[in-house]
Amino acid sequence: MDIKDFIAPFAVWKRAFEKPFTVKKPIDERPGAPRYRGFHMNDADACVGCGTCEAICMNNAIDLVPAAGREAKDGDSGLRPRIDYGRCCWCALCVDICPSGSLSMSNEYVWIDRDPDVFRYVPGVEAKPWDGSALGYRRAEGYRLLDEDRVPMPELGHAEAVASFLELVRGYSRAQAEKEADRCVSCGLCIASCPAHMDIPGYIKAVRDGDMDEGLRLLYETNPFPEACGRVCTHRCEEACSIGSGGDPVAIRWLKRYIADQVELSDYAKALPRGAAPSGKKVAIVGAGPGGLSAAYYLSMQGHAVTVFEAEEAAGGMLRYGIPEYRLPYPALDKDIGYIESLGVSISRGVSIGKDIELSKLRTDFDAVYLSTGLPVAYGLEVPGEDHPRVLDGVAVLARATRGEELGLGGRVAVIGGGNVAMDAARTALRHGATVDILYRRREEDMPADADEVREAKAEGARLVEKAIPLEVRDAPDAAGEAALFIWNEATMVQKEPGKRPVPEPIPGAVREGRYDSIIAAIGQGPDLSFIAESDGVPVKRFRPVVDSFGMATRAAGGAPVFAGGDLVNDRKDAISAIADGHRAAIGIDRLLYGKGA
């Protein structure tokens, strides 16, 4: 200790002559930093109500509550997160994980109140002073807790693809599947969009856990066609996927396929539940498509004896005859059908209802009848010359390809239509060495076909002619009926009525023509209802049987009750809807047979 120790401390007085450190008006002068994690904001329109914020929140601070003016719809639960500031710790994990990126934080941080019950609110729905704040925490660019990129599916190259009917999609490896399954947040938004309401988060979890038997069990709870659906499902679930709101949706379809591919048919019995004891009841099912066979599966699980009547030589319906082999290889379909058959379902192939057997007979011989005959009738072009011999119908072409018949399409093929049948027909034609033009009345984005299908068809070499209104089919000059001229009118899209989709309007004078060896019309299909007699008592409206929520068309006296479903009844034209209908009808039939009412 020296003299300095007595003098130096008085240096404190230096500060007395300097500017104080004190902030004059702290609340006004010192707003939160640009990145400050203040109170939450939510873009309620972008939010899909998936609840991932709730799942990640370690504080249990987030509730999902119905938001005023928002209804549940496909891809949006109608719920919005409500934050409890009696729990929140401002960690912003919810912002980082939010699949749609709708959650963010303002840099506001002052919220004082006497009443402890006010500290919860639904951001973006209940107005707060900090709404729309430009500053505050946003997750860093390119930084997300979830992976927005889908694991790419290994596929055949396009050149390779066109050269054969080999399956294009190879399926995920285990690592790929687990990585893809890891992207799912188990929100369950997809379940509502799936016509069969499959437990999608459940089986994706099974993939994550590597428990294929559990996965298969979950699949078969609602869908006995996992192999087929895993390949060709229209996957509306993926459109609803919350991950898709900010990136690629989870490849739900490929994961389903992955599960089914992993289990050998011989092991199915081990993984899947056993059916109930025989009930002694008999059920007839008309049509061995996905809908009919689904009904058959669930009915036989309930112990009923099921007979399926199929007009074609093989079961599978449109899955077999409408979908080309490169998309759904026959062994995969056979696996699904094989398991159903292995449960004791008998399929009478080559038996056509209305021709070989009458509906009324089924109604007397069986305890219930399920109609699932689909849409076998192709609609015509309705233009002059549509009965030209080179005008073929798309469904028929595909069916012939399935049967292995010579197609004789020739070198230049026009496909008219923009649906999946058109795409399948076009790609089948490509594989038969033809050059293909797809002519569609509207624009590419209006096409009802899956976007993937369109993309792949183009990639494989099909030329897409948009806005082409068919005018006429004429015999091509010097072709002797072996080629035809397809004449169309170029159109422009006109928004005629607000709120409705635009209408193609012919451009006067812009008439084009093309010479084709074959013209495949694929504009739509309809049901064949000729086998239903008035005496059957099945109510029909506008060529569709009228059914209740269980698919029951009639339980009129004079025979067993009749159920109907699938494309025959609904408007959705996909396998999964047919499967859902089949399942529902099976439940209805079962209840009826057991007298549980329906």
Binding site: G385, P470, V503, G524, G526, L529, I532
Partner: protein
């Protein structure tokens, strides 16, 4: 506009609607299965509704028809088919027939409206044109959604 002319115009319309009913009835008679019958019956019921409406107007002496013409989707223009009543009619066939029929009615009224000298009468025909256009639009929408879905 004198009452007679007005009544005559409506009578003409009434006649056409009744003819339409008859047309559907005739088709229905040829129908081979229940689905055709029920669809035709539905369309027939629609036309009967029109008959009733026009008769009502005639009785009351007023015209309560909307003057708004529905948008023409332009399908009829490209349909080549005449009605071909066959036993195996599909839904497409029936709808095409219906659309064509409505279109012909519309064209007829349009011509009558052009030809009409009295402004009152002209307006009645124009309103009938509008009415028929809406019927046609109804069928066209059905066609778009049920038949030509993929195109």
């Amino acid at each position: 506009m004198d009452a007679t002319t007005f009544a005559a115009a409506l009578d003409l319309a009434l006649g056409r609607e009744k003819a339409a009913v008859a047309f559907y009835r005739e088709l229905s008679a040829m129908a081979s299965f229940a689905a055709q019958k029920s669809t035709l019956a539905e369309f027939m019921a629609m036309e009967e509704g029109h008959v009733a409406m026009i008769s009502g107007m005639k009785a009351k002496g007023s015209v309560a028809l909307s003057p708004t013409v529905a948008v023409d989707l332009g399908l009829a223009a490209r349909m080549d088919a005449e009605e071909r009543p066959t036993a195996g009619m599909t839904f497409q066939d029936i709808l095409v027939a219906a659309i064509k029929k409505e279109e012909r009615s519309g064209v007829l009224y349009e011509r009558l409206a052009e030809a009409a000298s009295q402004p009152g009468l002209k307006s009645v025909f124009e309103r009938l044109v509008a009415e028929e256009s809406r019927h046609k639009r109804y069928f066209e929408d059905l066609y778009e959604s049920e038949i030509s879905k993929d195109n």
